[in-house]
Symmetry: D2
Subunit: 252 residues, 4 copies
Amino acid sequence: MIKEGDTVHLKGKKDSFFVIVEKDKEFSTHKGTIKFNDIIGKNFGDTVLTHKGEEFFILKPTLYELILYGIKRYTQIIYPKDSAYITLKLGLTSGMKVLESGIGSGALTIVMANALNPDGKIYVYEKEEKFLKNALNNLKLAKLDHIVIPHLHDLSQPIQEKDFDAAFIDVREPWLYIENVKSVLKKGAVIGFLVPTTNQVIEILKELKRLNFLDLEVEEILLRSYKPVPDRLRPDDRMVAHTGYLIFAKNG
Amino acid sequence: MIKEGDTVHLKGKKDSFFVIVEKDKEFSTHKGTIKFNDIIGKNFGDTVLTHKGEEFFILKPTLYELILYGIKRYTQIIYPKDSAYITLKLGLTSGMKVLESGIGSGALTIVMANALNPDGKIYVYEKEEKFLKNALNNLKLAKLDHIVIPHLHDLSQPIQEKDFDAAFIDVREPWLYIENVKSVLKKGAVIGFLVPTTNQVIEILKELKRLNFLDLEVEEILLRSYKPVPDRLRPDDRMVAHTGYLIFAKNG
Amino acid sequence: MIKEGDTVHLKGKKDSFFVIVEKDKEFSTHKGTIKFNDIIGKNFGDTVLTHKGEEFFILKPTLYELILYGIKRYTQIIYPKDSAYITLKLGLTSGMKVLESGIGSGALTIVMANALNPDGKIYVYEKEEKFLKNALNNLKLAKLDHIVIPHLHDLSQPIQEKDFDAAFIDVREPWLYIENVKSVLKKGAVIGFLVPTTNQVIEILKELKRLNFLDLEVEEILLRSYKPVPDRLRPDDRMVAHTGYLIFAKNG
Amino acid sequence: MIKEGDTVHLKGKKDSFFVIVEKDKEFSTHKGTIKFNDIIGKNFGDTVLTHKGEEFFILKPTLYELILYGIKRYTQIIYPKDSAYITLKLGLTSGMKVLESGIGSGALTIVMANALNPDGKIYVYEKEEKFLKNALNNLKLAKLDHIVIPHLHDLSQPIQEKDFDAAFIDVREPWLYIENVKSVLKKGAVIGFLVPTTNQVIEILKELKRLNFLDLEVEEILLRSYKPVPDRLRPDDRMVAHTGYLIFAKNG
């Protein structure tokens, strides 16, 4: 049963809205206004009418939708095509202890936390207080905040925790911090990076080699979408051509 | 502490082996023989020597490595680039109830089960007994078999369960079963498919439209890898150009 | 020496304009006005000043630039990435006799004519008079109109010429005309097609097989561009993801 | 009529051979032996039988086939997907004067020469005598040797010619020679490069910027092929993922 504070996906014939239900308030669309009180107490899968009589499904947002449409963004997020792959390449599963820096808007953190549920932990190192606060709110929205242990500083500071099973670094000059991170990684732990430029890839590879990391990999993920028309099946005209290079290595 | 029956990743300077530890037995490499009794009782991250004195790390295989190297395959598996993305597109998270058919070698099932841990369930429909048995063994290896409820029949049979939150269909002619699956899906539930040919995509799209599914999407994921050499950074000469088309829709 | 009627490329520090020189007229830019009389009599590579004193190079447009910026378009043109490859796949060289239908805006025709220069011929079949007229003007601009022999009808009509060395078909339902075209192709001649949808590819392949064409090929060309910044080398954020599928076969 | 010395494409049901016809000699296939005297005097498009009665078409090789299968290779060739695009980006057309270094096996030179036919010229600078000799033989095979003016030295030597309309550089460290080449280029002339690594791209971009070249572009061309089966249309499993980065700029 839907209650105040729940995030709902209102899905009409052509439109989708992701909103938080607030008692005695309403939500306006160009198809008319929806009263939240008409939603509270219903079940996911039920419908609600606007004051103009337009029908909307009340759906439970998936984790995917929360990340793309439900979270508040202060930064460019890591896209699902990348965050899903990163999480699997790091091999995240319940019980693992993971280091992440920085947190951005928490889009990757949510996907990683979901894989670590119920008994894994992400130790986040983020120097921007407003990013950290916002990301933690986003994790709450996804009901995965219990997985995260936040720290308000970057990786140039000593890291108090140790014996990490994996690490993911998404900062501008990651090569500056690899030696520090290595000192708290278990042997064989996977470290990952995402950077937009080839120059950054080159710097990271140099430092990983200097520090005897093993199994270096550089990859990129491309997502191509098609017009879903059975009589005229063809790729979309344009696509995202680049989000970033992914780099992985094992602590040797 | 490592004990009999554990899967270990033996990592030398150039070679990697994924083996199950068996008491009083040994394992041969071209760098010499390793006695499993020398491994039992050690911790992950420790090293072991071959009879020729060659050193190997004893590492805990990640979920990613289990899928690619540790599981026994009877079929072409769904690759990590695809299985990670599918799992996120379906929005899988603890508490959800998911339908999957068929199970293949369980590579996708493992990734989905990990996202559903601890309180989700995958109801698997697979008509080949040897596939089902092997896949369940693979899930045990990944310690995720508690998430799976197996059924030894395909989707042409009535489905006893209902109110599924998501479904993934990987069979040769998926369009034959969509109507049956729809009858047990919740409103708004995401259904996904993977097929290799454009002809299959066209048939699936036709049937999804006929049955009033919403938000149809056709996508493909391409993974491009680079030679990890800082002085000569460049893509690999060749790549996998196609595994399959991914199709997603919402039950309308 | 530049004279009236020449197409020139006016290249400033940031802007490029492709214009035809007309006596006693002028051309306005947001950097000021350029008198064409100041250009007539100069040589390519010289500069000209706007009335505000801004300097522009007077360059001879390359064939590539003529196609992308100089020709008048009534239709979506075939992009250089595709037209260059098509021309080479057809194996076009001086002395060959080529069939093309339709002509569109002549962008592909120009590239093919250039490869056929000086002694090849393109027999064009185009039913839209305004397309044909415009394309012939564009070929004149490229000084390649002597290669083209135009016909104002489509391929449903009998083709008077015969013994073609190659053919390229760019119409909506090419499969309707393949049998007619085959009757005028030499043995071993290459036929090519460009179509946007997989459904069209499937229809063409069926007909080519029915008519015993050999060496069927389906290909697509993707062009990915990078930001040309040495300190931050990376792909552009977005790219054209699809122009069309290319199909080639040999007359068997 | 086919005569001694002609290159022919012998095309059977499943096999293709590109051979030079030699009087009184024969050619063996696993489908039987073909006597060249049975080919001399016939026309392209005719057939010939092996001593086992297997039929082969006698086809005239296209320029495309000559490049891929007919020329003798001492080096990795520039692939048609790249050479076709380079030729169009340089804007090559009859009357232009082009600089090329090195020549490799002449695969690109053939495509460029074809676009420059009849009144263009390519001044080739190549320091390896055996490469130059072999490439010139390949150009003869394509009947395009009249377009090429060879020089047996590299670009570190003074270049006697000047006023080039375009240049293409395919050597290991192209940045060493850009200043020398610039001194013989017309204003506005396009210069192009092909290099395999991002490090080389970065060095070239730095030097082009230092020398005030304009309109810098970095691109790559990807060719994806499909299985040409109408009932099961799908991309091939694997593809060439990288040949090289293309760089273009204009002399400013």
